[in-house]
């Protein structure tokens, strides 16, 4: 076999990497703008994270949405209106499968095919190297643009504590699937994000003993307030354009009057104001704290023998440690400078989507908001598709748009006041962010 396989030129076609929700939206919206699309998906089916059979899926048996249905669905393909407010993950998968079928996206997807390298050719075009996940030869194809939709919730964030001398079992939350893994055991859950809280609650129902370790206090929000899904109530306040300070006050008040003071259960008080960290939505955590089924503990400092040492000097002896520390973004197939990735691994993209130095390279779905991801991924991919179209149809106007965008202030679309943690690298307010995307779309509207 030759060392360099022949490069097949796909001319104006666009390559999409990944067929999770973001990749599917990218295919559909690129095709609507008239592009031919080749999407590569390493798994053998669509759905990404929501397909819990996928080996990298972070979803566990009991996962239900935390963003309510209207704030989660694609804006042009609503979920059935008789579905529950917070559907189960299996419904999300069937929704994504139906989306793919409805728009005939399967025709554009190459399953069981992993992208292993993407490199610029120099004229804005890209050489994409793929390999069948079953093994076999690599193949290189040349594309006019590359849209990355590989997800950012699959590469576990390591717990920076040495586990070499620890004899108990340590797993990352991504390896937690089924409550049977907890049954009758003494479990320590590390991390106060949505995953950590969900697993702590599940452990409270299954395990013999549960410790929940968090390194700070959080504003745990219930799923319902005033009889409505909490995010819908939040959006009412955003619609009325209540100032942040007032919303923070209402948040504190509502929590005080309903859930009460969480430090009473031994939880640390939050070290930040409401809306300054990614929302944690869980109505059951407090319930099980109140039952004494979950013992809150501080940060883990040492793991040795059978003992886990905590920041306050306490020592506990779990059989199982689950680190729900979250995930880091990974782009193994791209040289870091293409996405301006810094030493910590954080990419720096315009609107968290457009590569700053490569107008034909974009990432979809690399955001996290106070609402579901799909509406954001949809409008991102509409913007990327229109941008790629405008570059071809009206290069002069495209240049003007690029000029204007480069002057757009960061604060118009990022959240500047958040707890400094890699957890918040891509945190946005969905209303701010969508307003910005809408403005960009208006600029690119056909004249």
């Amino acid at each position: 076999m030759p060392d360099t396989p022949d490069i097949a030129d796909r001319h104006d076609a666009v390559c999409v990497i990944g067929a999770g929700g973001s990749g599917l939206a990218a295919i559909k919206n690129l095709r609507e703008q008239g592009f031919a699309v080749d999407c590569y998906e390493r798994e053998t089916s669509v759905g990404g994270a929501w397909n819990w059979r996928h080996d990298r899926s972070p979803v566990y048996a009991s996962t239900h949405l935390i963003s309510s249905r209207p704030l989660t669905e694609f804006p042009d393909f609503p979920m059935p209106d008789d579905w529950p407010d917070y559907p189960h993950h299996s419904k999300l998968l069937s929704y994504l499968e139906r989306y793919a079928q409805h728009f005939g996206l399967g025709d554009s997807i190459w399953f069981g095919t992993e992208v292993v390298a993407v490199s610029p050719v120099g004229d804005g075009r890209w050489d994409v190297t793929t390999r069948s996940t079953g093994g076999g030869a690599e193949r290189v194809q040349r594309y006019a643009a590359v849209v990355v939709a590989n997800g950012h919730n699959w590469f576990p964030k390591p717990l920076p504590v040495d586990t070499a001398k620890y004899r108990g079992q340590v797993i990352h939350a991504s390896a937690y699937k089924d409550p049977a893994q907890l049954r009758g055991r003494k479990v320590l859950v590390v991390g106060g994000g949505n995953t950590g809280c969900d697993i702590a609650v599940e452990a409270a129902q299954q395990a013999s003993t549960v410790w929940h370790s968090t390194r700070r206090g959080y504003w745990y929000a219930p799923k319902y307030v005033f009889g409505r899904p909490a995010d819908q109530v939040n959006d009412k306040m955003l619609q009325l354009r209540l100032p942040l300070r007032l919303r923070q006050w209402i948040f504190r008040r509502t929590l005080r009057l309903t859930v009460g003071d969480l430090t009473r259960y031994g939880l640390p008080a939050p070290d930040h104001r409401p809306y300054e960290s990614h929302p944690v939505v869980n109505s059951q955590l407090v319930y099980y704290l109140g039952h004494g089924r979950i013992t809150p503990v501080p940060d883990v400092t040492r793991l040795e023998g059978t003992v886990v040492e905590l920041a306050d000097g306490r020592r506990v002896e779990p059989d199982l440690v689950i680190t729900a520390t979250g995930y880091l973004p990974r782009f193994e197939f791209l040289a870091p400078e293409l996405l301006d990735i810094d030493a910590d691994g954080k990419p720096d993209l315009h609107l968290h989507a457009f590569a700053r130095k490569h107008p034909t390279l974009a990432v979809i779905g690399l955001v996290q908001a106070d609402a579901g991801l799909f509406p954001l991924a949809h409008w991102q991919s509409v913007a990327v598709a229109r941008w790629l179209r405008l570059r071809l149809s009206d290069p002069v106007r495209a240049a003007a748009v690029q000029q204007r965008e480069s002057a757009r202030p960061l604060r118009s679309w990022t959240r500047l006041r958040v707890v400094p943690s890699s957890r918040h690298w891509f945190e946005v307010s969905h209303t701010h962010y969508l307003r910005t995307l809408e403005d960009l779309l208006h600029q690119m509207e056909p004249a």
Partner: protein, 260 residues
């Protein structure tokens, strides 16, 4: 007036339209072919039955799965649009939307929210005062009350051809629509541009006593074309004696567009 934001949908996010059991009638071809499904949307006062009479079966016979959805009781423009998009999204493939009369206005709004494969506006009622103007000329006693907040009554003569045998039976099946809903549908902010840029066909009759010829031209021009006309037919094309002509022409157009 600028249409409200298509991106920030606070109404849907903060007070979603409540679900109802929708009446959907259908006729599907055997065996199911490759053609996209067609969803028929009746105008106010009519129900899914108006298409089940002739057009659903005929459309299925020509190889397209055909569905029609009745407007919900106690509806509003927003709820009608919601129902159309819900039914469209529930179909296995990207659907063609066909709206008749005021249903064409509902479809025009739905097109801003759902990327239809194609759309047909049949005897489309124009927005705003021009709709009332035309209705006033042919049916002053049915239309005048609408100006004062009562429900307009469409006369038999307005909807159906003179010699139509079943006209009386059809007219008896119409249900009155509250004037509030009429006003909402007619005077809503004009719909935003269709998403996904679907091909749109306008069909109508120069002898329609609800929708004047000029209005047909205007609606068609907005979608970059001219209306396909069926002289001698009444407003309710799908219940007219010559019902096969327009539906055959529509399906011919569709077949051509899908091949393009």
């Amino acid at each position: 007036m600028r249409a409200s934001s298509q991106v920030l949908r606070f109404a849907d996010w903060t007070s979603p339209v409540p679900p109802v059991a929708r009446e959907v009638l259908s006729a599907v071809p055997e065996p199911a072919g490759d053609q996209p499904p067609v969803l028929f949307v009746p105008g106010l006062g009519h129900g899914a039955w108006a298409f089940a009479e002739h057009w659903l079966g005929h459309t299925a016979a020509r190889g397209f799965a055909a569905y029609s959805v009745s407007p919900r009781a106690d509806g509003s423009l927003r709820a009608y649009v919601h129902d159309v998009v819900q039914v469209a999204a529930s179909l296995p493939r990207q659907a063609v939307l066909l709206g008749h009369g005021a249903g064409a206005l509902v479809v025009a709004h739905a097109l801003a929210r759902y990327p239809a494969r194609a759309a047909v506006l049949a005897s489309p009622v124009p927005e705003g005062w021009s709709a009332l103007g035309a209705a006033l000329r042919t049916n002053p006693f049915g239309t005048l009350p609408a100006l004062f907040g009562a429900a307009p009554r469409l006369s038999r003569r307005q909807l159906f051809g003179a010699g139509q045998a079943a006209a009386a039976a059809h007219h008896a099946r119409l249900v009155p629509t509250p004037a509030r809903v009429y006003r909402q549908v007619l005077f809503a902010t004009p719909p935003a541009a269709p998403v996904g840029d679907p091909p749109v066909l306008v069909v109508g009759s120069p002898d329609d006593r609800v929708v004047p010829r000029k209005a047909l031209d205007r609606t068609a021009a907005r979608h970059g074309g001219a209306p396909l006309l069926f002289p001698g037919m009444a407003h309710d094309l799908m219940l007219d004696e010559s019902w096969p002509e327009p539906i055959d022409a529509i399906l011919d157009w569709l077949t051509k567009e899908l091949a393009a």
